[in-house]
């Protein structure tokens, strides 16, 4: 599903190249649950951003669903966002002016999903996440864990094939974190959604099927999680 070949990313500063990623080559298949781990500044988030096409690599080739997406134009990229990729953020990034319901609805509006279909999908998601009673609340009226649930629901609304999560539990207490991670695991196992997450926590990484250890921009270790 995702094929990265010799991906490099550096920032040139006064002629000195500061490498963030070096010669990253890896393949992620449909249905995998990959955790990217490593110390601060290792390039984890940059790698995730490149996978999510939020940043472009300086060098290297990136194939997404068999298509070269290294230099994609805006229109094509947004098509991919609408149909294949869901984002989950550490800081939740819900739109403050929208209610829970509207936040979940937004991607469907961009995808031009019909209103009946929209209503049923949202109802389904709210039901699944036990948020029906909270659908008319604004994000600042929810706890962090609840906000992240909405964030995930929003990412799922468009029925993506892959979810990219940047430290999804970074701001949460451990109980809430466990809840979110179990949810990811369930989505991965029951619905076959590919999940790539960046995490600091060894414990969270254990929920996945594979761990990529990154340090100083290089993949140091690529190991499968033994259940």
């Amino acid at each position: 599903m995702i094929q990265l070949t010799n991906i490099e990313k550096y920032y040139a500063n006064k002629g000195v190249k500061n490498y963030v990623l070096r010669l990253v080559t890896t393949t992620i298949n449909q249905g995998e649950f990959v955790s990217i781990m490593g110390p601060s500044g290792a390039g984890k988030s940059t790698l995730l951003n490149i996978i999510g096409m939020l940043e472009e690599p300086t060098y290297g080739i990136y194939n997404f669903l068999g298509e070269d997406v290294t230099n994609l134009n805006e229109r094509k990229r947004i098509e991919l966002y609408r149909n294949h990729i869901g984002f989950v953020f550490q800081a939740y990034h819900l739109i403050d002016e929208m209610t829970v319901y509207e936040n979940i609805e937004a991607p469907l509006l961009y995808k031009k999903v019909g209103s009946a279909e929209r209503a049923s999908r949202i109802a389904d998601l709210l039901d699944r996440f036990n948020m029906v009673a909270k659908k008319d609340l604004f994000p600042n009226q929810l706890s962090g864990g609840q906000q992240q649930l909405v964030g995930i629901a929003r990412a799922l609304a468009a029925q993506p094939s892959i979810i990219l999560a940047d430290e999804p539990t970074g701001n949460l207490q451990s109980a809430q974190a466990e809840e979110i991670m179990s949810l990811f695991k369930k989505l991965n196992e029951e619905e076959g959604i590919t999940i790539i997450q960046v995490t600091h926590s060894e414990k969270n990484a254990q929920y996945g099927s594979r761990i990529l250890h990154i340090a100083d921009g290089l993949i140091k270790e690529d190991m499968a999680v033994v259940a």
Partner: protein, 791 residues
Amino acid sequence: MFRLNLKIALRNLWRNRGITSINVGGLAIALAAFILVILYFTYETSFDKTNPNYNNIYVVGRIEPDFKTNYTSPPFAKAIKQHLPEVENAGITKRGFFEFSMKNGKNTLFAKNFMQADYNAAKILDLKPTGGLEKPPGNVERLSYLSKENMRALFPDKTDNKPEIVGMGASNSGITSKINGSITNNLHSNITFDGISIGNEIGKGENYGYNNYTTYIQVKPGTDVANLEQKITDLYRKELLKGETDQKTIAEIKGVSTFLDPLANLHLRPKAGNDAPYKILIALSILGILILVIACINFTNLSIAQATKRAKEVGIKKVMGAYRFQLTAQFLVEIFIQCFVATILGLTLAELSLPYFNNLFQVNLSIWTTENDLCWQLPLILCVITLIAGTYPALVLSGFKPALVLKGNFSTSKQSSWLRNGLLVFQFSIAVIFIIGLFIINSQLKYMRSEDLGFTANQVVYIKNISMFNKPETFAPVRDKILKIPGIKSATVATDIPDGAEGGANGYTFEGVKSSLDFIDVDFDYFETLDIKLKEGRFFSKSFPADTTNGAVVNESTVAKYGMKNPVGKTIRGCNIDYKIVGVVKDFKAQGFESAVKPTIYSIKNPCGNYKTQIMVKIEGNKMSSALAALKAQWLQINPKDGEDFRYEFLDDLYGKLFKKQEQLQSVFFGAALLTIFIAVLGLFAFAKYITNGRIKEIAVRKILGASDIQIFSLINSSFFIMVLIANVISWPLAYVITKRWLETFAYRIDLPILPFISSALITILLTVITVSIQARKAVKANPVDALKYE
């Protein structure tokens, strides 16, 4: 989608309602000013536009070697129509030159301008008597009409359109006249009148010397006007040269030419006359546009200042699959909503301030009529301001890169700070220019009001009169009777009163030098009544009978013009009279402050002069009302020829009208200064709010490091302080040049003072410090722990 965006927009605006109302309010005020300006502009530029031949009508004027004039003579129009085929029609009009009364029983009307026009002119000018324009039938010389308003004043109960007989002048004069009907007096036209008489031919028998008429021509569409102008000049010279043999006169005639002035130019910038109204209109329009642009800039500024708040939304929407243009459109719609509200508010404000504006500019504008074009102008303005105010923020906001925005710790302040600072400096520069301008206009007006005029208009009453008193003996009995009234100190009659009116001019020879002098024909006590100061010699006096035949008084400017030494007793020749100079008076500003005092000669006898009809009396202040009452009661006995209609005006009021234009300017500048300061401060207020919010963390850290409140206040203020200082430095030279040019339009003016420049700096700096400190206070008072807790 649209509904959701609308909801977000409204929630967002509501959440930031402080800034939103500043935004919308500032724009609304500017729009109100702009609406007034376009109303005025449309009105001023559309005089006579209802005339079906608007673009083909011209006034024919003369160019003499030293002046241009619209006054021409009756035979000229006839000659033009006869000889030039491209002229479809030509006609003449004549203004009423003096005020007279018309009576119907107890109803009295004073007609200041009872115009005359020939039938052709009436046709060209699209005059519309009730029932249609008629050609006077063969046996009737004239058809006279009164304007509808005047007709109603004289005949309040009249419902039909039948002719009426009215009394002319005093009721004892026994003169009556027939009024054939009423006529529309279009105030939105160059041709206005109290009444008009239309004849098949007017000015019959008057030759080319009688330049008292205005000639209008209507040319065929598509005529080459420059070519026609040349042909008319040739024709004019040919006509004047007929039968002329004197070589000198022939040479003079060759120096005369004519011009064509389109009807469209007559109101604002006639070729013969000054184009000050046009300049004022242009200045006012620029002002209106400027204010609107500043408000739009404010808007842009504030929208960008709020960018950080919206950045996250943009980032998220982009990763959810929103195209950039969708986001641009969303922001534009948001700004459009605000502009729309501002327009409605602006319209309301304009409506509220319209009476004041109408009073100031002596117009009668209204928003709610279809003819003022607002119905298409307003939507256009709305769209334009939305684009001006909205394009940049919409593009900036929709251009955020999600990867940057979503990482957190996103700040736009660095990116666009030079732009926002620049905009703020620009706003304050404009405000400073208006403040300085206002101060300088105020000083000049104060100077004009307090400066010694050289004569005293106070307590001098000007009496309107139509009898002529060219000979002192005819005025003597009138004066005697007037002086019997207690409280009246002196009375005189002259051709002109010092209210800014231009006197006549003629050539005078002194010791072999011939030069043109203004002349004013006066009677005894003229100088005494006006309290004019004597420099040498004496005033006219009844004890010197020769004064009434060849006595003359000159002013200082005349002495300077001829370089006279010891002028008293010497002879100056003009109008075939050898005048003996009996006295020299100090210059007095009869024409106001804009032109220098003209070299003038005052005489009692002047065959080349005009009619002495302007009576002036000096009355003791505490007996003013009783004296006026007595004059009114006895006027019929005092001045039987003028009749029972005693009408007067105070000379200082009349002279004060000379300041009207400047007072208008003062009001405009006052309004503009207030508006620009207000809008600039609004912008500053929101900007400071934004900046302090962005620096809350920095302030908290500094406080922990031991900074005092004062230090933090000065820290936040310093950047704004510098910006306002820069704005002042930029606008000083500009204001200097502009105000200097304005002051140069006065012959008598103040020296350009420094104080306004300093005060403008102080005012703007003070306003800045207050505004910023109000905002900074919150950040300074906050507990640093709160600010540092969230990370």
